[in-house]
């Protein structure tokens, strides 16, 4: 009598239904695949960023446009002259920056220009680029730096 009772109790299903688990995981997977931007830009200049302490984060990634300044990477490990790169192309003439950036500003009025400048670059080039940004009236800039390692 009692054994029969026990048998009945064990027959009740205690499993969590796992049939929908793959679907849930797939949903997560698709979310991650869609949300992560795999926009790879081949940076043709070397940019070892300087370190700083007073740094802020830029949360809105879609507002940011990058300008790379640094010695150009050549074949092998050699480095060439200081060059400026916007998006995928090296800028031959610094004066061309104003038209490029102005067009970007029209597309995104709250544009932030992040300057990723190599730490060995000279200020002359940086100031020239800044002057061009003023001409294009893209005034919000950011000197991209790494967080200073605790000393």
């Amino acid at each position: 009598m009692s054994s029969q009772h026990f048998k009945k109790k064990t027959q009740t299903k205690q499993d969590i239904p796992t049939a929908s688990l793959p679907d849930i995981i797939f949903m997560l997977l698709i979310f991650f695949m869609v949300s992560t931007v795999l926009r790879e830009q081949t940076v043709q200049v070397r940019t070892v960023l300087p370190q700083a302490e007073a740094i802020t984060k830029i949360d809105q990634k879609r507002l940011v446009s990058y300008i790379w300044v640094g010695p150009q990477k050549l074949d092998g490990l050699r480095l060439g002259e200081t060059a400026v790169q916007i998006d995928d192309a090296l800028i031959e003439d610094v004066a061309a920056i104003r038209t490029v950036m102005y067009r970007k500003l029209v597309e995104q009025p709250r544009l932030i220009v992040s300057l990723r400048v190599d730490e060995t670059s000279e200020m002359g080039m940086v100031l020239d680029v800044q002057q061009e940004l003023r001409e294009a009236s893209t005034l919000r800039i950011n000197y991209s730096t790494k967080r200073q390692a605790a000393s």
Partner: protein, 187 residues
Amino acid sequence: MANLIKKKKRTEAEIPTSSMADIAFLLLIFFLVTTTIDVDTGIGMVLPPKLEEDVEPPPIKERNVLKILVNEQGLVLVEDEPSAVQLIRDAVKTHVLNEGVDPRYAETAGRALVSIKTSRETPYNAYVDVLDEVWMAYFEMWDSEARRLGYQNYQHYVDTVVEGQGLQNAIREKIKAQISIAEPDAA
């Protein structure tokens, strides 16, 4: 015998789906690991707008400007006196928080201005170091001002008053971070 044949027919031809979740998990972990959601960090600045041809720049009193000069070797002059990069922070603080006491420094915190001038050959590294120190001076001044007003720190103030209540940032209004990047002299 007939019984056996019947049993064989009834086995269902299903693909086992129990491992599906594991495969999906592996893919998910792969994507989680490979994608870098790197947040760009840096020192934010706002460049001055382009000057109109016929408009004179607004007059600024000499005493309100703290001049910092960085030369080709990365050496620093503060108000025409040689200084170390580490001393800039205190120099900026005394300059901004002077409130008209010392005639060499600023009249009020709102009028104080820090001017950083480099030469064209100054390494970018040295410039960022100096700019970093100036910003740190402002951050520390905002922090102590926020503590004076009874908040834990400046970030707490921003979170509660500026973000929470939508009010103006009174601390930044009082101690304005006015940093000007001067053009190098034409050689």
